[in-house]
Subunit: 416 residues, 2 copies
């Protein structure tokens, strides 16, 4: 039986809703994307509910589901995947948080969740300045690891006996409100202790960051001081049965953001780093598609993650989302326009992000699978409405890997 | 409420993929089948995942699911269904295997998995010659039952205390490899003992078959000696709540192959034997359809199984699959062309078999339900793509009996 290799091009937050700005069309309907439309025309199409109909999911839960891991079973929080993606090897019992470097006033009112989107370099200097504080806290028996990643983003890991991820998010997810210190969300000693250590760390770092020379300088230049660590998404790393073992394949991921590397890494995929893959609208798309093409010489499955679509939606800019899709189409076509045989291509998203409200929503995402052996269904264009008339009908994220690796003749029979 | 009677025409391995040989069409798209297309046009259509999207299933697991029994719960192996279909009444604790009468060389290298498709008559003579060996082994407290069925196929049952089906398949499923004796797949005394008895039987029968006069004669005539029993699919019979009790109906099955009689028999359906129903491409289609028509005078549900579609796919011959579908359509029309009222007709498959690779695949199968009261959906032709646009959308095999018997006004209300 001839096995095909699989490429998944996942556009984050791809699904959308029609907006007045785009004349009642979604960005996918509006964008000129001849190559993806060709794949759609020559492929089989459908809709996919990442977790379930009408359930808006995060990038973490969405990705877990799409890789075949039920997030209701395996997901405790985003933190551990961010940590893994940032290169921290988590140990059993570690509790990991995502954090934002943010700006608060003297009464802990939140001014800016991203400290004016501070640069990666400056954020690193500030994170490094907390090393002594972390070491001090570690004397109590709990090791504290702080790692800055991209811009305001970072990861915090607590390592030690009897910790718990059952504490509230410190990041209130909106500005102009007072930041509350973490509280335990269950009546366990571990949760009480974790909340206490976190609070000490957050208060202590605020004191240090407020007087840090870099922040004083920023304020002098009229910029915001990055003076608070706002944690969220605390969790422990689940033990995932790797994709490679499950399907007897070799797989890799190409992504900018730490979270995606983390989730895919937890699923056992090799993380391929591409220069200029920043996970922003200005990412090195050409380089990412080229790297995917290269990896398909050795891997059975390559997962290419592109973040820009989601960012444009969060910025409530359907037009720039459509523009970005057009850029993706061009670079995709440049690298794969010859549609080599022996390849199966899947294009989809991890969730819908409404560029009207800027929020993740629960509408299904469009899905196409292209390959030599698929049942062409007559769908003419890849978007939310046309795909609803496709030959795949409506799938769940948990089904995607089975469906895709079946098209590629990789999966094994159940029964005989 | 008027109850209708139901006919299921199940074409084994019906679903397929488009092939270059049929100009990028599937055998169903290619075949001329005016009667089935009429049923489709006048009926409601959809796709069905026998077990789940993208999961390639065997005929055993597929049939279990379609009859409403979750194979993840009830399936241990194919053996017990084959045994039941071959007329062996299994007792609790019995471990049953399917076997192939095969040809191996002196080093147990597998030459032909089917001993040159030995005839049913010759295979029976050889199986009978193992009676003394079986009796000898039975002295150890485990009864050995060997029953030859069709051509190279047969069933082996071990009966006694503390046996286990947790042993490896002896049939390697491919030729030109060395056959390995059975090994336990779990660390239990039962599995160890079962593997040991099986190995004695397989080695002992090889010694006897090699010198059997019939085999010597075959070799003299330039044919292959049928000198090895290759077991596979060991399992124990699950305790199934019968279809008749579940739905308060009377049901029957018309099939050639032992497996189908076995699965349906385990579900409590009466097995109707039709002369010339061989389960091959040359089966007595006319007789089977006539028998179905007859049984519908007394039964609420008749399950008519036709194997030829699957066999043509395994032979990688999409054209002969299409031809066979045309023959089915003719005989179907001859018996049911008057589409009597008070009848609900369902046409579907148990899984997709790719006639490109010759393997079972996980693509959904097309499904139509015809009857006086169904919601006609405008589908014009019965095939994998047209059905995807039908009024049933995409169902799971486990839902089929409920849907069908509901259309027939048979099922009872849940709640009030």
């Amino acid at each position: 039986m001839t096995r095909a290799r699989c490429l998944i091009v996942l556009l984050d937050g791809l699904g959308d809703r029609p907006s007045v700005e785009l004349k009642k069309r979604t960005p996918l309907m509006y964008a000129r994307k001849p190559f993806i439309d060709r794949l759609s025309r020559e492929g089989v199409n459908g809709l996919m509910d990442p977790v379930g109909p009408g359930i808006p999911v995060g990038s973490d839960t969405g990705h877990l589901a799409i890789l075949g891991y039920d997030p209701y079973k395996y997901y405790t929080g985003r933190g551990p995947f961010e940590a893994l993606g940032a290169g921290i090897r988590l140990e059993p019992g570690d509790v990991a948080f995502r954090y934002n470097l943010a700006t608060v006033d003297e009464n802990w009112r939140l001014i800016d969740r991203r400290a004016g989107r501070i640069s990666t370099e400056e954020a690193e200097v500030l994170a490094d300045s907390l090393r002594d504080l972390a070491a001090d806290l570690s004397k109590g028996g709990v090791e504290v690891i702080i790692r800055s990643t991209v811009e305001h983003r970072g990861v915090l890991v607590l390592r030690g006996p009897s910790l718990s991820h059952k504490v509230t998010d410190v990041d209130p997810h909106k500005e102009n409100v007072t930041v509350e210190m973490p509280r335990p969300t269950e009546a366990s000693e571990g949760a009480r202790r974790t909340a206490q250590i976190l609070a000490e760390l957050i208060k202590g770092s605020h004191a240090l960051l407020t007087v840090h020379e870099l922040n004083r300088d920023r304020v002098r230049r009229g910029m915001m001081a990055a003076n608070a660590l706002l944690t969220r998404g605390g969790g422990v790393m689940p033990n995932l049965y790797s994709l490679n073992e499950r399907f007897k394949i070799r797989s890799s991921v190409i992504a900018g953001g730490a979270l995606y590397k983390g989730v895919c890494g937890a699923a056992g995929m090799e993380v391929v780093n591409v220069e200029g893959a920043t996970g922003t609208l200005k990412t090195n798309l050409a380089g990412k598609f080229r790297a995917a093409r290269d990896r398909l010489r050795v891997d059975d499955l390559v997962f290419l993650h592109i973040k820009g679509t989601d960012s444009a939606s969060h910025d409530r800019s359907p037009a720039s989302k459509a523009q970005f899709i057009e850029r993706v189409d061009e670079e995709f076509s440049r690298a794969f326009g010859d549609t080599p045989s022996g390849l199966v291509i899947c294009v989809t998203g991890d969730h819908t992000t409404s560029s009207i409200t800027g929020e993740h929503r629960g509408d299904p995402v469009p899905l196409l699978i292209w390959g030599d052996e698929v049942r062409r269904d007559g769908v003419e264009s890849f978007d939310e409405v046309n795909c609803s008339k496709g030959g795949l009908n409506r799938l769940r994220g948990l089904d995607l890997m089975n469906v895709l690796l079946d098209v590629a003749n990789v999966t094994e029979m159940f029964g005989e």
